[in-house]
């Protein structure tokens, strides 16, 4: 998992139904349904389309008797009945495909009165039977435990009595519960130094990244200039190239320039690695802001630069936040460049310090685990809180969701 995966919400990714792509998809799906459905059905056009199982008063739903319980095995002969015809029913199907949030609201309101009247009958994958749901819960419990287990284990280790090395017994709860590991971490001067270094690297990268990326992205979005397309291509292509691919010449360069073991060297290296993605993402975002806004501001007497600073930027806070977050993560958790370019213990960021603690023969894992928790906790909280914004669309490469 690389930092690239902390990708950003594509401003163009929406769930709107009035999206060409969605319409196309639905049309595709309709076609597929037609092709794949076992039999043809007839549709009673006198009734408005309803969800299966819905019985408006006095109108038994067509083919109600024919609805299957779950567990009908595929291939079993289907009882005859009147059901939905899926061909040539475009007009009648329109309500299903009604676009726009409003229509959806109406439709769902109309078609789904009180829950009590609405019973799930079919084996829909999204509304499965009770049994299925139970099994699913069990499965998810098991998988969740598996996924969370390593994280739990480290937290447990950090709370375990350090008394030297650990015993070889397997115990789920901390043996000899203690907070001493944490107090040792917080009492370690090296830890504080590394914490400070991490803040410097992360903060410096964030600041520099923001300043550089915003301006450049705005230019790419709003202006045309010579060299625009080739450099834009470079932004796209470089997103797939990891920093490690250029680490060797960069290393030689830094050695010759004396940038090894300096804050500045690593900060600009990090910034450069975040720029392709940040610029691309911000450019895509700016693209969705109509230029009328700046033109309106101009009419009000602002210069173009002012329009940018005072009008567009404030509108871009979400994208700014994401650029900042991404840059901060890079600076905080990046490992390889740090380990190659920083030799002196004074400048070690926290991630590298963690690694060096492990490297020694008599690792005291309580200590390591405590430091790991302190290092990871802020990052994890932010991730969990902002997960929706961090995923969503695949803007690396600028995919339109």
């Amino acid at each position: 998992m690389t930092e690239r995966q902390r990708s950003v919400a594509n401003p163009e990714h929406t769930r709107d139904r009035d999206d060409d792509a969605t319409l196309r998809r639905d049309g595709e799906a309709r076609r597929e349904l037609r092709e794949n459905s076992p039999t043809e059905r007839e549709f009673d056009a006198t009734l408005p389309y309803q969800a299966p199982g819905y019985e408006p008063e006095g109108h038994p739903a067509p083919g109600k008797a024919a609805l299957y319980d779950d567990n009908t095995a595929p291939g079993q002969p289907q009882p005859a009945k009147a059901t939905l015809m899926t061909q040539g029913t475009q007009p009648a199907m329109v309500p299903l495909q009604a676009t726009g949030a409003q229509a959806e609201l109406e439709r769902s309101g109309a078609a789904r009165p009180a829950q009590a009247n609405y019973r799930i009958r079919g084996g829909s994958v999204i509304r499965p039977s009770e049994t299925n749901l139970l099994l699913t819960n069990l499965l998810l419990v098991a998988v969740s435990i598996l996924f969370a287990f390593p994280v739990y284990w480290v937290i447990k280790t950090s709370l375990q009595g350090s008394g030297g090395l650990l015993s070889t017994e397997f115990s789920l709860l901390p043996q000899d519960f203690t907070l001493s590991n944490y107090s040792r971490v917080f009492g370690d001067r090296g830890f504080w130094r590394s914490l400070l270094n991490s803040f410097i690297f992360a903060g410096g990268t964030t600041l520099l990244s923001l300043v550089l990326a915003i301006s450049a992205a705005y230019a790419y979005s709003r202006m045309r200039f010579r060299g625009r397309t080739p450099t834009l291509w470079a932004m796209v292509l470089l997103q797939g190239v990891p920093a490690t691919a250029t680490i060797i010449p960069l290393y030689i360069l830094f050695v010759n320039l004396g940038l090894i073991d300096t804050y500045w060297g690593l900060i600009i290296a990090y910034t450069a690695s975040t720029l392709p993605f940040s610029i691309w993402m911000m450019k895509s975002f700016f693209d969705t802001i109509p230029k009328d806004i700046e033109e309106a501001a101009q009419v009000d007497g602002a210069s173009l630069n002012e329009a940018f600073l005072r009008v567009v930027l404030p509108l871009s806070l979400p994208a700014l936040a994401i650029t900042a977050l991404f840059a901060f993560f890079t600076g905080w958790t990046e490992f390889l460049l740090a380990v190659t370019f920083i030799n002196s213990e004074q400048l070690l960021p926290l991630g590298v310090r963690l690694y060096s603690v492990v490297g020694e023969n008599t690792t005291e894992w309580g200590f390591f685990a405590a430091m790991a928790v302190v290092f990871a906790l802020p990052v994890m909280i932010i991730f969990i809180a902002f997960q929706r914004y961090l995923v969503g669309g695949l803007t690396v490469g600028g995919v339109k969701g």
Binding site: F254, V255, L257, N305, L309, S344, E345, S356
Partner: protein, 415 residues
Amino acid sequence: MKYSKAMVATSVLALLLPLLSACAGSPAAFIANAEAASAQNGSTCPRPLVIWPATGDNEDAYLLDLGRQFQQQSGVGLELLDMPFDDILRKYVTAVPSGKGPDILLGPSDWTGLLGEGGYVVDLTGKYDTGRFLENTVEAATYQGQLWGVPKSFEVVAQYYNADLLEQPAESFDTLKQLSPGLAGGNYALAYDITNFYFSAPFLYAVGGELFDENGEFVLTEEAATAWLTELRDLQNEAALPREVTSESANALFRGDNSATFFSGPWEVEGFRELGFNWKVANLPAVNGQPARPFLGTKVMFISSTSPCQQAALDFIEFSTQPEQEVAWVRDVNAAYLPAARAPYEDPVLAESEAVQSFLQQAETSVPFPNAPGVGQIWTPGLDALTAVLNQGADPATAARQMVETIRENLEVRE
């Protein structure tokens, strides 16, 4: 336009300023500056000397102590930077060309060729009299005729044996093979880190193989390698050695009186002394009448070429290799520390130490560890070959061929 211009100006300045200052030097410039500064400083140094020692923790403390004594004498202090052994060389070759790095590096003689020819350390040819050191150790600090450092200590792998279990040390592989039936149940005749090339290589020389010749050329033949692997395999089988032994487990077996012999170096002495069992040191067993020839690993003190206090560094090196300091080291820190200087051996502390004398004796048939750059290429192929034959039952001839070819390929790439 104000915004854009202002922003550009600031960021460009902010970016370039550090770069400009960084452009102050290239490696060559740093070295030249350092020489000039050293000439100016003479025997003084505006800041404490910095040493990067590739040693254990006890010795770190003792080095600092030496530093304090030196400071009283000369006014120049000593600082020590500790780091994992695997990282030291990489950090050194990164730091020195950048103008950073220590004044003194205490490292194994394997590095002499690389550091010397690469320009990382100061050429001491003609500037320092090495007559008072053992010849083998001076050889280790010399590459292609130039003296690149001052030898500090050496170590050699020898045979430890449990005098309670054995009256005599094992003299040859055959002795070992005959031993095992006679030992009490559950005990091994021998347990050592057999797949580690460093510990098994002495027997390669015993069967007539040679790794590098005087010019640093790789001259190992497949026949020798095959013979060597075969002998070891036979030893493992016929002397009933334990399988898949690691150095920790071999150590544990010997300490626990569960194995009669153990091949290792002087660094074990301190640990064994504390346990107080009856151990002794002797030469390694011979193979088919030929003596085993372990590597003579020398620790050398190098002076960085970018140090501005080169004379002061040399003074400290001189000071730390005086008999008085060396003897104190043996007495207080490490009973099996083997100084490279000759004089300390006349002191009773060393003269009467059985361990020291035994190691010294083994050192007479030792092979100075080659110090050409690229010598580090032998370890992994050696390990692979040993593991294949001893742990996985591969055919010695195939493994030998694989090993020789791999080493040759790796060395070619480095030309």
